[in-house]
Point group: C2
Chain length 160, copies 2
């Protein structure tokens, strides 16, 4: 028997807006990510970053993406019948993310439709806007997620 999840494709109708997150990034985390994956001076070295075009340490853009993924997992994805994502469009790094910033995500469902080739699976197209504690948009991206559809459509919980 299939595992029961809290959220299925039906829980992400077109136009739905979900806001989640509230993850604060520390200087240590920014530097650790940079050391592993993106050792450019303005991500890695607070002193060197002072003299860079950014005027101080900033998180790697990929670190911000990874934080969004973490917030998504914690908010709903780990309780969802998710089948992964084929990709991302229009990823924009709009403003620097700095030590101590607290990020949250506003998710708008742009499109939702069943997969013709697999009738028990649905596609959801989302736009994710990443906001900091000053309500500034620091990043935006769009992407598809694939979710199983409910076997029993009578059971209609929604994600609120």
């Amino acid at each position: 028997m299939d595992k029961e999840y809290k959220y299925y494709w039906e829980d992400f109708p077109i136009g739905k807006v979900i806001e989640f997150g509230g993850l604060t990034v520390t200087q240590e985390e920014i530097i650790r990510f940079a050391r592993d994956f993106d050792p450019q001076p303005f991500h890695l070295d607070a002193e060197a970053a002072q003299h860079s075009t950014f005027g101080g340490l900033i998180a790697s853009g990929w670190h911000t993406c990874a934080m969004v993924m973490r917030m998504m997992c914690d908010a709903y994805l780990l309780e969802s019948a998710s089948l992964g994502s084929p990709g991302i469009e229009n990823l924009r790094w709009m403003k620097p993310v700095r030590p101590g910033d607290t990020l949250r995500v506003r998710n708008v469902v742009l499109d939702a439709r069943p997969l013709e080739s697999r009738p028990n699976v649905g596609l959801v197209r989302n736009r994710w806007s990443v906001l900091n504690q000053h309500d500034e948009e620091v990043m935006q991206m769009e992407g598809y997620g694939m979710f199983k559809r409910r076997a029993n459509s009578a059971r209609q919980e929604t994600l609120d």
Copy 2:
């Protein structure tokens, strides 16, 4: 006086192909990234992953992006007059990345033009294809990079 770099905007002409990388990812690294950023069972838990649609542990797509960034830094970016990237298009996760896989990147310069608003800066549009040790394309993305232009165009080193 400005720092001297090895690579400037002029070193990325349209049509140029660069291949770099050769980074092997371990099971421990896949699990560590998953624990920090993407704790879905098929990224986090080798046993649970066996029973998933992927038939075994696979790296988070964001981990693959981060590895590409690292290979880029090591290949040329840390020696480049780079001014960062405004974003990414057409990011596609095409095949799973598994423990022990060795990834390399094939970079094609799709477009290169000076910034009209800042004549000392140029834009480069790249397509990055990520290949594993079986020459399978596991990921692809496109994106702009901004680089300073050479102050002295007589000094023409190229990236080979």
